[in-house]
């Protein structure tokens, strides 16, 4: 996966950090609350009526209720309140940008305290400490319906769990060898540590009625046409598998690679010291993936990490909180500059990048004509993910109406094909957040259930 960096030294060889420090660099970025801290923090919740935080939560978790349950030391009750709205509440507690969602709308921001209740950490407290005797949710009587779900990421898993709860049988087709999608492969290691993603999915699958077939990739060894024929309904939760290209000469030069591919390797490795490290590196992009990449490279031992973005800080999609994390890790940020040329040595390897300075002129981004160069052993591009065109290449899939490159869905998450639904990053609505994918999957499951039930009644 990181073969483009084979010529670079490993973290161990670079030797910035000894193994113990390296390990701690990738342990929990925000340590969990202790029981006492959770009790104190839960008291700060005002138990608002029609709470703004609930309105701000894409998965509509009843936040005041679960916090009140924590304050009553009813941890299982709190966890159940969370999970019945969001079965991946544990990972959302870790990866949600709460600073722009629930915590931003907390009324305590307006209060003299000027600080929101730490909703994300409280949610983590409840989901970390729940102890159920068996799975907390029961399945309805079996309906005899069988639904295909494509993609075992947050959208697909959420959809599958809800469908199973509603009494349906579900088969998930997953391209990778492990379930989880971005939770397994795409999140900064210090945001979700150890094998939390795997454990969470094991818990989710305990509901029963869900089987997963791995190594099944739509457009490769899986056809939508067949799924459409063989199953009562299909849910597409493909995600955005393809990294966008820079569109410059040398896009495949050793030393240049997509950030998501590196992060994937970083998340999966058992030996952080074996990872290739660029002592000087450039990350191009302004989203949370760019921040995750830059921060993790710094924590692996790179001495110079530069993040370059073609617009200003205010336009960065990474939240202030994320930007602060990068800065705290010594990441240098350069704005108003776009890639102009990939600089290569005689062997064709990356040795740096030339950037063109930019400015905004009557709403349009233009190059000023000025350029500068930054020396680097590696360049990581995090300029967004695109739809993997191949995946919707079979005749049936090709019929799917699109919104731009993404799959078009209506407010019931129905695609233009009958009985085919879609959600998560592969559809237009939302901001490509895990929590939104979970919500899409959940709502699509209800839409599927409703449609199947209506059919049954009509028959």
């Amino acid at each position: 996966m990181t073969s483009q960096l084979n010529h670079l030294p490993s973290a161990k060889e670079v030797g910035t950090y000894d193994p113990a420090t390296l390990a701690s660099n990738f342990s929990d970025l925000h340590p969990p609350l202790t029981h006492r801290q959770a009790m104190i923090e839960s008291q700060r919740c005002l138990y608002c009526f029609d709470a703004p935080c609930v309105e701000a939560c894409p998965s509509e978790i009843d936040i005041p209720s679960f916090i009140r349950q924590i304050s009553e030391n009813n941890i299982n009750g709190a966890a159940e309140t969370i999970l019945e709205a969001n079965i991946l509440g544990g990972s959302c507690a870790r990866v949600c940008p709460t600073e722009i969602l629930c915590e931003r709308s907390c009324v305590r921001n307006h209060d003299a305290e000027c600080q929101p209740v730490l909703i994300g950490l409280l949610q983590r407290h409840a989901t970390d400490h729940m102890q159920f005797d068996g799975h907390p949710f029961k399945r309805a009587a079996t309906t005899g319906r069988h639904i295909a779900v494509v993609g075992a990421g947050p959208a697909g898993l959420s959809c599958a769990h809800r469908l199973a709860m509603l009494g349906h049988q579900v088969t998930i087709f997953e391209a990778e060898q492990k379930p989880g999608g971005l939770n397994e492969y795409g999140i900064a290691r210090y945001k979700m540590t150890d094998d939390f993603a795997r454990k969470e999915i094991e818990f989710l699958l305990e509901i029963g009625g869900i089987d997963i077939q791995y190594g099944k990739r739509l457009g490769d060894n899986l056809e939508l046409a067949n799924l459409h024929k063989q199953y009562d309904s299909v849910f597409l939760g493909l995600g955005l598998g393809a990294s966008r290209a820079l569109g410059l000469t040398g896009d495949d030069a050793p030393g240049l690679m997509p950030a998501v591919d590196y992060i994937k390797t970083l998340r999966q490795t058992d030996d952080l010291g074996s990872l290739a490290v660029a002592k000087r590196c450039i990350v191009i992009g302004a989203g949370n993936t760019a921040i995750d990449m830059a921060t993790q490279m710094a924590r692996l031992g790179a001495s110079e990490v530069t993040l370059v973005y073609r617009r200003g800080v205010e336009a960065m999609s990474a939240t202030d909180h994320e930007q602060e994390i990068a800065k705290a890790n010594g990441v240098r940020m350069i704005t108003w500059a776009q890639p102009d040329d990939i600089l290569l040595d005689s062997q064709g390897r990356v040795v740096g990048m030339r950037f063109a300075k930019t400015r905004e002129q009557s709403g349009k981004l233009t190059a000023t004509g000025e350029t500068f160069e930054i020396e680097a052993d590696a360049i990581f591009k995090a300029i967004g993910q695109g739809f993997d065109g191949e995946s919707l290449s079979d005749a049936t899939a090709a019929e799917l109406a699109r919104d731009g490159e993404r799959i078009h869905v209506d407010d019931m998450f129905r695609t233009s094909l009958a009985n085919v639904y879609a959600g998560g990053d592969c559809v237009k609505p939302g901001q490509d957040l895990t929590v939104q994918a979970v919500q899409h999957g959940k709502l699509a499951a209800h839409a599927i259930h409703q449609a199947l039930t209506a059919k049954q009644e009509a028959a």
């Binding site: 008291q43 005002l46 009526f49 029609d50 305590r108």
Partner: protein, 444 residues
């Protein structure tokens, strides 16, 4: 010892009665003390060691933990429990400890020495012996010989002692209160304070009986029968003695409102208009003390707050009280004692024409909706929930529906966001006794 024994110029020391330029000394039923803050008869006043530490810390007086007849009481292990707030703050406190478990001889010896060493501080001895004259006639001269300033009759202990015909068993019977008080006045020359139990229907029966018996003062309240919590795993209350428990006596902040009402009842009672009252019950701050004094207390007694924080709290109590008095222009404790009594009346005398309604300060409102749901679900549906164009919420009082109940103000987490605004009704003062709608009104 390197301790620098230095008081900055202008600062008071522990025995001064003038603090921040204000005289806070009291003369309570003939008992003088440099300040009104006394420690109640309880574990903190069990022996000379504690009492001396209290005096050193600046307490104006001490009621020595209750003496009884020989042999001394025997206590169980595991004695206290608490009613906690959500952050483990102690709201209420419960104990099943009995009167002193040390010998009468040792107590009397220590009392004598302490009074000799600390002549300016009030030292009152709490006593509880069986309900017969001989018992009192025996112990009172012994106590008198110590030189203590007065006695307090413990007629209120709710646990352990009633089973032996003492404590609350006496305090719940006005005839016995009168009789015991009479014996005390007969066999003891100094002030007699009767400590009243709140575990009765009407506190005035006890205060009136005490006065009839010749009491110089009353003190109240003693603790309230209580069970603070149940260990639901083992189905037993706390404090747990082995595998069992029993009810105890409740005190601490939670009992303050109950105590204040009882103090006010006695202060307002035409049968006991000048009977001095030592206020007890949940006093933890100077403000609590000021409130008891405003309702008629001439001194206050503290126990739980000291048990939870140590004796040092008296320093702030004296400082805060004296600063407040200076600000208000009160030159002495007497100057504001009973000041709130004229305004404390029976419901039937309240102005039925008075009208106040809630006002929400929109600039301070944080849009939590607590006032709305409280009013909507449980009160008068007088708050409207509106949505602004930008999606933010706005809560407005529907003035014509508001009855001025204060519930919204109580639920609001922001100080001063909701205020109750008295309305100009143009109508005269009309007490319910005179309201034509009152079918039982006195014929005019």
């Amino acid at each position: 010892m390197n301790t620098l024994n230095f008081t900055p110029p202008g600062k008071h020391n522990s025995s001064d009665s003038v603090v921040n330029g204000v005289d806070i000394s009291v003369n309570f039923a003939g008992i003088k003390a440099p300040n009104p803050f006394w420690l109640a008869s309880a574990p903190p006043t069990d022996k000379a060691y504690n009492v001396v530490r209290a005096y050193e810390a600046g307490w104006g007086g001490v009621v020595w933990k209750t003496l009884g007849e020989e042999p001394p009481a025997v206590n169980v292990s595991s004695r206290y429990s608490a009613h906690y707030g959500k952050n483990r703050e102690v709201i209420g406190f419960n104990n099943i400890e009995l009167i002193t478990d040390r010998s009468l001889e040792i107590n009397l010896k220590e009392i004598t020495q302490v009074k000799k060493d600390w002549p300016d501080r009030a030292l009152i001895v709490s006593i509880m012996v069986p309900c017969n004259e001989e018992a009192w006639a025996y112990i009172l001269p012994l106590v008198e010989a110590t030189g203590a300033d007065g006695i307090e009759l413990n007629l209120g202990c709710p646990h352990g002692m009633p089973e032996r015909g003492m404590g609350a068993a006496v305090g719940q019977n006005p005839d016995l209160i009168e009789k015991v008080t009479y014996w005390c006045k007969k066999h003891y020359s100094k002030p007699v304070i009767v400590k009243l139990t709140p575990n009765i229907t009407d506190i005035r029966a006890g205060s009136q009986a005490a006065l009839r018996g010749g009491a110089d003062a009353v003190s109240l309240i003693n603790t309230i029968n209580s069970i603070t919590s149940i260990d639901l795993d083992n189905m037993v209350a706390k404090p747990t003695v082995g595998h069992q428990s029993t009810h105890g006596g409740y005190c601490g902040s939670a009992v303050k409102p109950i105590a204040m009402n009882m103090v006010a009842e006695i202060a307002r009672d035409p049968a006991t208009p000048t009977l001095p009252i030592s206020g007890i019950g949940g006093i933890a701050t100077w403000r609590d003390a000021a409130e008891f004094i405003a309702l008629g207390a001439g001194s206050v007694q503290v126990c739980t707050a000291a048990m939870l924080n140590g004796f040092r709290i008296v320093e702030e109590m004296k400082d805060g009280l004296s600063r407040w008095m200076a600000e208000k222009g009160y030159a002495s404790i007497e100057a504001f004692s009973r000041k709130a009594i004229p305004q404390t009346t029976d419901w039937k005398h309240l102005d039925i024409n008075f009208k106040t309604i809630a006002k929400i300060d929109q600039d301070l409102c944080i849009e939590c909706g607590r006032c709305y749901i409280a009013c909507e679900d449980t009160s008068h549906q007088s708050i409207a929930k509106l949505t602004e164009q930008d999606g933010s919420r706005r809560y407005e009082v529907i003035e014509e529906e508001c009855v001025g109940c204060n519930l919204c103000q109580i639920t609001c987490p922001v100080e001063n966001c909701i205020t109750m605004v008295p309305q100009e009704t143009g109508q005269p003062f009309l007490a319910w006794d005179n309201d034509p709608r009152n079918p039982f009104r006195a014929a005019s």
